[in-house]
C-alpha cells in the first residue's frame, strides 16, 4: 500500500484529543493504537452528535474496514445510544465516562431535547450509515443514480482465481499460438507469469500501467500489452457475469465525483446527505478510498 498522504494530519485540532471539548469543525485525527478504545470513542461521539448537536443519525457516516468491525460497531453505537438515553431519563449509568458527563452536564431543557433526539434515532436505527468502505461506495452509487455509470445492481465480488487463469490462458494463446507471418512476438510467457500480472492489475485497478507500450519492446512490451489486455478482458468478463470487483465501485464513485460534467452536482448532493464522517482505521485507507471520502467531505466535518 502507498503511504497515506501527509495532508491527512492537518486541521485545527492536531493535539491531544479532549473529549470534554465541543466538537469543532474540520478534520480531527485521533491517533490511537489497537485496543485503546477507538470503537468506544466513535460510538460515544455518535451519541454526542445526535444528542447535543441534533445531527440526524442518517447524516453521520461511519466507515470501518472489515465487515466484522462494521457489525460490531453498529451494535456498539446502538448500545451507546440506549445507554445515553437511559442515563438522560433517570437510570444512573453503571460506569459514567467523560463523553456522558458532557451530555449530563447540560441544562434540563437541552437534556430533555437530547433524550427526544436519542429516542428518535433509536427508533430508526437501521438508517445509521455504518459501512465498510466498499459498502459505502455501493451506497454512494445508489445515491448518485444515473450520475454514476455503474449500475448498483451489479454484485461486488472478489477477483476469481479461475477467471484469472482462464483469461490468462486465452490471452497467451491469442498472442503466441499463431503469430502473424513475419510478426515478432518473442518467447511465449508462462501462464504463472501472466496470472501474476493479472493479479497485480486487478488488485490495484487505479494504478497506471507503465511504461507506455510505445516506449518499450521485447518482453517488456509483452508484459505491458498483456497487462492492458488483462485489465480490459477481466473487467469485461466480470461485467458479463453481473459482477464488479470491490474496487470498481470505488473507482466509479471517484471518477463521477471528479467528472467535469456531473462531478460538482454529485459532490453537492452527497455533501448535503452527510454532515459528519467518522473513519476508523484510517491507516488502512489507500489513496483512492481516501480520495472518495475527501471529495464528499471537503467542507464538512470529518473525524478520523
Amino acid at each position: 500500500m502507498t503511504a497515506p498522504p501527509a495532508a491527512r494530519i492537518s486541521g485545527p485540532s492536531f493535539s491531544e484529543f479532549d473529549p470534554a471539548a465541543s466538537l469543532g469543525r474540520g478534520r480531527t485525527v485521533i491517533e490511537a493504537s489497537a485496543g485503546t478504545g477507538k470503537t468506544f470513542t466513535i460510538s460515544a461521539l455518535v451519541a454526542r452528535l445526535v444528542a447535543l448537536e441534533g445531527v440526524p443519525l442518517d447524516e453521520i457516516l461511519v466507515v470501518t474496514f472489515t465487515n466484522a468491525a462494521t457489525a460490531e460497531l453498529r451494535d456498539r453505537v446502538r448500545r451507546r445510544l440506549v445507554a445515553t438515553h437511559a442515563a438522560l431519563t433517570g437510570v444512573p449509568p453503571p460506569d459514567p465516562d467523560e463523553h456522558l458527563a458532557v451530555i449530563l452536564a447540560a441544562d434540563p431543557a437541552t437534556k430533555q431535547q437530547a433524550a427526544a433526539r436519542l429516542h428518535g434515532a433509536l427508533s430508526t436505527f437501521d438508517r445509521a450509515q455504518i459501512f465498510t468502505i466498499h459498502g459505502f461506495a455501493a451506497r454512494l452509487l445508489g445515491h448518485l443514480g444515473l450520475r454514476a455509470r455503474l449500475s448498483p445492481d451489479l454484485e461486488p465480488a472478489e477477483i476469481d482465481e479461475l477467471l484469472l487463469a482462464q483469461t490468462a490462458g486465452d490471452l497467451i494463446v491469442g498472442r503466441y499460438a499463431h503469430p502473424a507471418a513475419g510478426g515478432r512476438v518473442g518467447e511465449p510467457m508462462k501462464a504463472h507469469q501472466v496470472i501474476a500480472i493479472g493479479r497485480a492489475v486487478s488488485a490495484t485497478p487505479d494504478a497506471e500501467i507503465v511504461p507506455a507500450p510505445a516506449a518499450v519492446d521485447g518482453e517488456a512490451l509483452a508484459r505491458v500489452e498483456l497487462a492492458h489486455a488483462l485489465r480490459t478482458e477481466m473487467a469485461r468478463r466480470m461485467r458479463r457475469a453481473g459482477l464488479v470487483s470491490f474496487d470498481d465501485g470505488l473507482m466509479e464513485v471517484s471518477a463521477t465525483l471528479a467528472d467535469p460534467a456531473v462531478g460538482a452536482a454529485a459532490r453537492t448532493m452527497l455533501a448535503r446527505r452527510y454532515t459528519v464522517a467518522l473513519v476508523d482505521e484510517s491507516q488502512d485507507t489507500d489513496p483512492i478510498q481516501w480520495q472518495v471520502i475527501r471529495a464528499v467531505f471537503d467542507e464538512s466535518r470529518l473525524v478520523v
Binding site: 451494535d75 427508533s123 430508526t124 445508489g142 479461475l162 482462464q166 503466441y176 501462464a191 489486455a229
Partner: protein, 1137 residues
C-alpha cells in the same frame, strides 16, 4: 352509503365484523361479495375464517363461496378501467408498454443537451450504446409510475410545462431531464396521464354515472400502507355504496391519543421529517420503533377523511410474558419490571418468548425445527397447522428447512420413512418460479449460454439436469459417459475458432467443440492407432480420431453431438437483438430445443410461457394506442429482464394446508397463529434498508405514507409479534460459523431484547435465550442443561436421532494407539495369485490391503478440469507424452508420424506454444529409444510367455513378454527408475525363469535417473549364470518367488509396514554399512522429503501411527526390508547413461 372504517388491534375482531356484514345477504343472492385482501395468504385464512364464522352464527353451514378476493390495487384498477373518463389514461399509462415508450424517448433524444447526464450513463466511453439502456428505462418507468401515484400535483405541473420538483420548487439541473423526458413520453402516448385526468375523473363514480360491476357493499380487509390515490377511489366508490375498510392497528390507545393530538392540526400529509406522526405519543418502545407504518396509515386515512373509533383490545388478564408484552403494546403502556414474570422467565418456566442464538443459517433451521417440536410435544392441543415459520430470506432458508425437516422434501403422497424424527411436515408457501420450475431456471441458463464462452463445464453441468435428459432421452449413467467423451476429447471452450477470436484467444481451433466433436465422431469409425490422422489435406492438420470410442456404444458421442448442435441452434435464435415481444417466442423455442418437462410436469412449460409473455409483453392491442412501441432489446437486456424470476411469488394453495406453513413475513402478516417462528433475524438480513436512489425526486421529500422498506419490515415484525398466540420463537446467527465471534442480532431484535430486559431483567432475558453449539451432533445438544427445553433444561434440546448417534460416537471413549487393536479377521489364502496382483502388492502393500481386504480404494488426487486453454504442459502431461512417443516407436511407427499426430490431437498447448514442449519430449524420447536399441531392445523379437508356477500350496499365474534371442526382458520408460520399476522386473524375471529355466534370463530397464537429469540403464542379473544347471536356476527363482508370495500372504492378513520407495532407500543406503546414513535416507523418503511417502492417503489411514521414521523402524520394517530387498539389490546393477 359511505366509507366505514373499522379499526381493531386483533384480526379476529375485524373478522367478526366482516362476518356480520356478510351474514346479511345481498339483494340478489347471486351477486358475489367482494373482499379485497392484500395477500394470497390472508385470502386463504379469511376464506377459512369466514366459513367457520358463518357456521358459528348459524348464518351458513361453514362454506365460504361466491366471494371474490381481489387485491386492493386490482380492485381500484378495475374500477378505473370501467370508468370511461379514466380508462384511457389507465390503459395508456399503467401498462408494461410504458417502458417501451421510455426506451423510444431515450433513443430519440440522446443528443439533446439536457440529456447529457443520461447519455453519459447509457453510452460507453467511445460513444457506442452501453448495456444499461433497458434497465435504465425500466427504472425511469418505475419512477414515473410512482410520481403519478404519490405526487400527482407534480406530474400535473409537468404536463403544464413546469420543470418542478415534488415541493413545487424548480428541479435541479442534474434532474432536469426527468420532466422533459416525461413530456416527450406523454407526447408519444398522445393521452393525458392519470394525474391530469383524476381530479374530475372520479366524479362520474361519485355521481353513480358509470356502471361498475361491483356489489352494493365492498369490503377492504387489512389495509396496511394505504396509497392516498387508492383511498380517493374508495372514497368515490363510497358515495354510491357502502365501503367497509378493516384496518389493523396495534394499539387502540395510541390511535386515540394520535387522533386527539391530530384534531388540532390540519389534515394534510406533512413531510416525514417534520415528525407528523407524533412518535412521542408512542409510550411503548415497540410502537415507537416498529409501528411507523400503522401510525402513518392513521394520518393518511385522516387526510382522506376516514376516521374511526377503534375497538378496544379484548385481552384476557395476561399470564405469560408474551401476553404481557402484547397487552402493553395494545394499551400503549411503557413496559415495566414484573418480579413474578422475571422469576418465571429466569427459571425457564415461561417459554412463550424464546430467543435462540445459533451459528449460521443451517443451524437456525435445525434449531427452529427442534424448538417447534418442543412446543408441540409440551402441548398436545397444538397441531402443525397452528405453526407458522416466517423468514426474511426464504431463498436461503427454504432448502435448509427442507433438509432439516426430512419429510418436507417429499411430496404429499410419499408417506414417509421418518428417519427417526417426529412427523412434522412443512409447506413452503411462496417460492420464486425459478425455485420451483426447472424450465424457468433453464430459460435463464439458455440466455446465459447464448453469448458465453461455452465452457466444457457448462455442458458437463447441463447433461446432469433432468430437463435435458428428458429432452434427449438419456439417464445419469449416460450423462457420465458424455462427460467422459468431453474430457477425453480435451474440449475446453468455444464453439469454433471464430468463437475464440471474440474472447481474445485468437483464431485457434484446438480444444473447441467443433474440433472435439470431429475427433469423437471420427473415433466411432476408426480403430485406435497411435499415428492415424484422417482428412489431412494440404495445410490442414486433419483430425485425430478419439481413442477408446470405436467398438463401444456410440450413443454418448451421438448425444453429445446432438446437444451441442442444439446449443448452436439456440445461440443463433438468441444472438441478435430483436423486438421485445419476439424475445418471448425465441426464448421458448430455445428452451424447447434443449429441455423438456417430465410428462407429469407439463405445467412447467405453461408457467414458463406465461412468465415470458409477462416479461416481454406484446404491444397493447386494445386501447387508444394500438400497436404501441415494441423496442428492440439486446441479449444482455433480455437477460436483465428475466432476473426478476428469482423473486418469490405466493400461491394461495400452499397456505394453511394443515402442515407447518413457511413463508416470508408478508403473506401471513397479522394472521393469528398459536406458534410464530421468526427465522433468520440476522443483522445482515433484516430489516431491508432502502439503498437510497439519487434519481428518485421524492427521496428528499418523503411525506407521511410514503413507502419505506425498513419501516415496512419493522411493522411486519410487530404484526408477527402480535399475531403469536402462545409462542414466539426467534432465531438469529449470533456467532460466526468460522471464527465463533459474537454477532449482533438484527437491530429490531436487539430492541425487543431491550424491552424484555425492562420487563424481566437481565436474568430473565438470559433465561429465555438459548445459545446453541456449533454442531447439531454436539453432546451439549442432547444433555439437559442451560439449552434444554422447559424449565431450565429439564429436557435435552435436540430431537434428531441421527445427530444423537453422532454425539454418542463423538463422546464415547475411543481406544488409543497403545491398546492392541483387534486382529484383522482371517483371510483365506487363494489357490492362484496373478503375477500382476503380486507386483502391484509389492509396489504398494498397504494400498492393496485396503483394496482387497477393506474393499475400497483411495482415488488418486485428480484436479478437476478447469476448462483453461493450456499455455504450457504440466509434468504429468509431459511424462504421458513421452510414454506415448516411446510406445509408438516400440510399435515401429516413424517418429514423424507420431509427432504429426500429437500436433493434431489437442493434447499440447495450441500452435507455437506447444512447439517447445513437443521438441523437448521428442528429444528425450528419442534419446531413451536410442539407448534402448543400443542395448538390444527389439519389440518385434519379444514373445509372450504365459503359464503358472506351482509353489507350496499356492500358484502364481501370469504372462511376461521377453526376447528369447537376446535372453532378456526389456522395458523402456520415461519414468524415473526407483523401487517400483525394480520390483516389477525382478518379480517378472523370477516368474519367467521359473517357467523357462533353460535360458539364463536377465532383465533390462532403460529410463530416467532416480534424481536429477540424465538416463539410467538398470539390469537384473540372471538367477544363476548360463553355466548353471537349469534345475538349480529354477529352484532359486522359485525360492525367491515363494518369498514374494509369502509377503503377499502376510500383507493380506495385516497391513505390512513396507512402503516401497522408503524401503528401497533404506536398504540401499544400508548397503554402505552406515546405519546413520540409512536412517537419514529413510527419514528423507518417509518423513520429510519431497515426496514424503507417509503422507500417501493409504499410509495415513493404516500406518498413521508410524508417520515418523523412528516409529516405522520400531515396527518390524527392517526385517521386512531385508526379506524383500536384500536379494533384489544383490542381483541388480545399474549404469548412468
Amino acid at each position: 352509503m359511505a366509507v366505514i372504517t373499522h379499526v381493531a388491534p386483533h384480526p379476529e375482531a375485524l373478522v367478526l365484523l366482516l362476518c356480520d356484514q356478510l351474514a346479511q345477504p345481498p339483494e340478489d343472492p347471486f351477486t358475489p361479495e367482494v373482499v379485497a385482501v392484500p395477500t394470497r395468504g390472508i385470502e386463504r385464512w379469511l376464506t377459512q375464517r369466514i366459513a367457520s364464522g358463518m357456521a358459528e352464527r348459524g348464518a351458513g353451514d361453514g362454506i365460504c363461496a361466491n366471494v371474490r378476493f381481489p387485491s386492493p390495487s386490482r380492485l381500484v384498477r378495475d374500477v378505473l378501467r370501467a370508468t370511461p373518463s379514466l380508462a384511457g389514461a389507465v390503459s395508456a399509462w399503467e401498462n408494461p408498454g410504458l417502458t417501451g415508450h421510455v426506451v423510444a424517448a431515450l433513443d430519440g433524444n440522446l443528443d439533446e443537451p439536457w440529456m447529457a447526464l443520461v447519455r453519459r450513463y447509457l453510452e460507453t466511453d467511445d460513444g457506442t450504446p452501453g448495456p444499461n439502456r433497458f434497465a435504465a428505462a425500466t427504472k425511469i418507468t418505475r419512477l414515473y409510475t410512482g410520481y403519478a401515484r404519490r405526487r400527482p400535483a407534480m406530474v400535473r405541473a409537468w404536463a403544464a410545462g413546469a420543470d418542478v420538483g415534488p415541493g413545487g420548487d424548480p428541479v435541479g439541473d442534474a434532474d432536469i431531464w426527468q420532466p422533459r423526458l416525461w413530456r416527450l413520453v406523454r407526447d408519444a402516448i398522445c393521452h393525458p396521464s392519470l394525474p391530469e385526468t383524476l381530479p374530475d375523473g372520479l366524479d362520474p363514480i361519485r355521481d353513480g354515472a358509470v356502471d361498475i360491476d361491483l356489489p352494493g357493499r365492498l369490503n377492504v380487509y387489512g389495509l396496511t400502507a394505504a396509497d392516498p390515490f387508492e383511498l380517493d377511489v374508495l372514497a368515490a366508490l363510497g358515495a354510491q355504496r357502502d365501503v367497509h375498510l378493516y384496518v389493523l392497528h396495534p394499539s387502540p390507545a395510541l390511535w386515540d391519543a394520535t387522533a386527539t393530538a391530530a384534531a388540532a392540526t390540519p389534515a394534510t400529509l406533512a413531510t416525514r421529517a417534520a415528525g407528523a406522526t407524533h412518535p412521542m405519543l408512542a409510550a411503548h418502545p415497540m410502537l415507537a420503533s416498529w409501528a411507523q407504518e400503522s401510525r402513518e396509515l392513521q394520518q393518511v386515512l385522516a387526510a382522506s377523511g376516514f376516521t374511526a373509533t377503534p375497538i378496544a383490545a379484548a385481552d384476557p388478564e395476561p399470564a405469560t410474558l408474551l401476553a404481557h408484552l402484547q397487552h402493553d403494546i395494545h394499551d400503549n403502556r411503557p413496559p415495566a419490571f414484573d418480579p413474578s414474570l422475571a422469576e418465571r422467565a429466569g427459571s425457564g418456566a415461561d417459554t412463550t418468548l424464546q430467543i435462540h442464538v445459533c451459528h449460521g443459517a443451517r443451524r437456525q433451521a435445525e434449531v427452529m425445527r427442534d424448538a417447534v417440536l418442543h412446543v408441540l410435544a409440551a402441548d398436545p392441543t397444538l397441531e402443525p397447522r397452528d405453526v407458522v415459520i416466517m423468514t426474511p430470506d426464504l431463498a436461503t432458508f427454504a432448502p435448509l428447512l427442507e433438509a432439516a425437516f426430512p419429510v418436507a422434501a417429499r411430496d404429499e403422497d410419499g408417506a414417509a420413512e421418518l428417519d427417526g424424527l417426529p412427523d412434522l411436515r412443512l409447506r413452503i408457501a411462496d417460492r420464486s418460479p425459478a425455485a420451483i420450475n426447472p424450465l424457468v431456471r433453464f430459460a435463464a441458463t439458455v440466455l446465459d449460454l447464448a453469448d458465453s464462452r461455452l465452457e466444457a463445464g457448462v455442458v458437463r453441468e447441463l447433461v446432469t439436469r433432468p430437463v435435458v435428459q428428458q429432452r434427449f432421452g438419456f439417464d445419469l449413467d449416460a450423462a457420465g459417459a458424455i462427460t467422459r467423451v468431453i474430457d477425453d476429447a480435451h474440449i475446453s471452450w468455444g464453439f469454433d475458432a471464430a468463437d475464440r477470436v471474440v474472447w481474445g484467444a485468437g483464431d485457434v481451433v484446438d480444444r473447441t467443440w467443433s474440433r472435439g466433436l470431429d475427433r469423437a465422431l471420427a473415433g466411432v469409425f476408426y480403430a485406435d492407432s497411435p499415428v492415424r490422422v484422417v482428412a489431412a489435406a494440404a495445410g490442414a492438420a486433419g483430425t485425430v480420431p478419439l481413442h477408446g470410442v470405436e467398438g463401444q456404444d456410440a450413443t454418448p458421442v451421438g448425444l453429445l453431438a446432438a446437444i451441442v448442435d442444439r446449443i448452436a441452434a439456440a445461440r443463433r435464435l438468441l444472438a441478435t437483438p430483436m423486438a421485445t415481444s419476439q424475445w418471448s417466442g425465441a426464448i421458448a423455442a430455445a428452451v424447447r430445443l434443449l429441455a423438456a418437462p417430465a410428462w407429469a410436469d407439463e405445467w412447467q412449460l405453461g408457467q414458463l410461457e406465461r412468465l415470458l409473455a409477462e416479461t416481454f409483453p406484446a404491444p397493447e392491442t386494445g386501447g387508444p394506442d394500438p400497436g404501441g412501441p415494441d423496442p428492440v432489446l439486446t441479449l444482455p437486456e433480455a437477460r436483465g429482464a428475466v432476473a426478476g424470476w428469482t423473486t418469490p411469488r405466493p400461491s394461495p394453495l400452499h397456505f394453511r394446508t394443515g402442515d407447518v406453513t413457511v413463508c416470508t413475513l408478508v403473506p401471513m402478516r397479522s394472521v393469528p397463529y398459536r406458534v410464530v417462528g421468526l427465522l433468520g433475524m440476522d443483522d445482515d438480513r433484516f430489516p431491508r434498508t432502502s439503498r437510497g436512489d439519487g434519481d428518485d425526486l421524492l427521496a428528499d421529500h418523503e411525506i407521511v405514507g410514503d413507502h419505506d422498506r425498513s419501516a415496512e419490515d419493522r411493522q411486519l415484525l410487530l404484526d408477527a409479534l402480535l399475531a403469536a398466540g402462545d409462542h414466539l420463537i426467534v432465531t438469529y446467527a449470533g456467532r460466526d460459523q468460522l471464527t465463533n465471534a459474537p454477532l449482533p442480532p438484527a437491530v429490531p431484535i436487539a430492541e425487543l431484547a431491550d424491552t424484555i430486559t425492562t420487563m424481566v431483567g437481565a436474568a430473565g432475558l438470559t433465561g429465555l435465550t438459548s445459545t446453541h453449539p456449533l454442531q447439531s451432533f454436539s453432546a451439549e445438544n442432547f444433555t439437559t442443561g442451560n439449552n434444554g427445553a422447559g424449565p431450565k433444561g429439564r429436557l435435552p434440546f435436540g430431537f434428531d436421532p441421527r445427530q444423537l448417534a453422532g454425539a454418542r460416537a463423538v463422546t464415547e471413549r475411543r481406544p488409543d494407539a497403545t491398546e492392541t487393536a483387534a486382529p484383522w479377521p482371517g483371510w483365506a489364502v487363494p489357490d492362484v495369485v496373478a503375477l500382476d496382483d503380486l507386483i502391484r502388492f509389492l509396489q504398494h502393500p498397504v494400498q492393496r490391503f485396503m483394496q482387497a481386504r477393506m474393499g475400497f480404494t483411495v482415488p488418486e488426487r485428480k484436479d478437476l478440469p478447469d476448462d483453461t486453454l493450456p499455455a504450457d504442459l504440466n509434468s504429468l502431461d509431459e511424462w504421458a507424452l513421452k510414454e506415448r512417443l516411446l510406445s509408438g516407436l516400440a510399435d515401429g511407427h516413424p517418429l514423424d508420424d507420431l509427432v504429426a499426430r500429437e500436433r493434431a490431437s489437442d493434447g499440447l498447448p495450441p500452435g507455437r506454444l506447444g512447439d517447445d514442449d513437443l521438441d523437448k519430449a521428442v528429444a528425450a524420447a528419442s534419446a531413451l529409444w536410442d539407448e534402448a536399441v543400443a542395448r538390444g531392445y527389439d519389440r518385434q523379437a519379444m514373445a509372450p510367455y504365459r503359464g503358472t508356477v506351482e509353489l507350496a500350496g499356492i500358484a502364481v499365474g501370469g504372462a511376461v513378454r521377453a526376447d528369447p534371442g537376446a535372453g532378456h526382458l526389456f522395458r523402456v520408460t520415461a519414468s524415473r527408475i526407483k523401487g517400483k520399476q525394480r520390483l516389477r522386473v525382478y518379480a517378472e524375471l523370477a516368474f519367467l525363469t521359473a517357467l523357462h529355466p533353460d535360458v539364463a534370463w536377465q532383465a533390462v530397464v532403460v529410463g530416467r535417473r532416480p534424481e536429477g537429469e540424465g538416463h539410467l540403464a538398470m539390469k537384473v542379473l540372471p538367477f544363476g549364470p548360463a553355466a548353471t544347471p537349469a534345475a538349480e536356476r529354477r529352484a532359486k527363482a522359485v525360492d525367491r518367488l515363494a518369498e514374494l508370495v509369502a509377503l503377499y500372504v502376510e500383507g493380506h492378513r495385516a497391513p505390512l509396514p513396507l512402503p516401497c520407495e522408503s524401503a528401497f532407500a533404506w536398504q540401499r543406503a544400508l548397503a554402505f554399512k552406515d546405519r546413520d546414513k540409512a536412517v537419514w535416507a529413510l527419514r528423507d523418503s518417509w518423513e520429510t522429503g519431497r515426496f514424503t511417502e507417509s503422507r500417501d492417503a493409504a499410509h495415513r489411514a493404516l500406518l498413521g501411527d508410524l508417520a515418523r521414521a523412528d516409529d516405522l523402524l520400531a515396527s518390524g520394517f527392517e526385517k521386512y526390508c531385508a526379506r524383500l530387498w536384500l536379494p533384489v539389490l544383490a542381483q541388480t546393477t545399474e549404469k548412468p547413461l
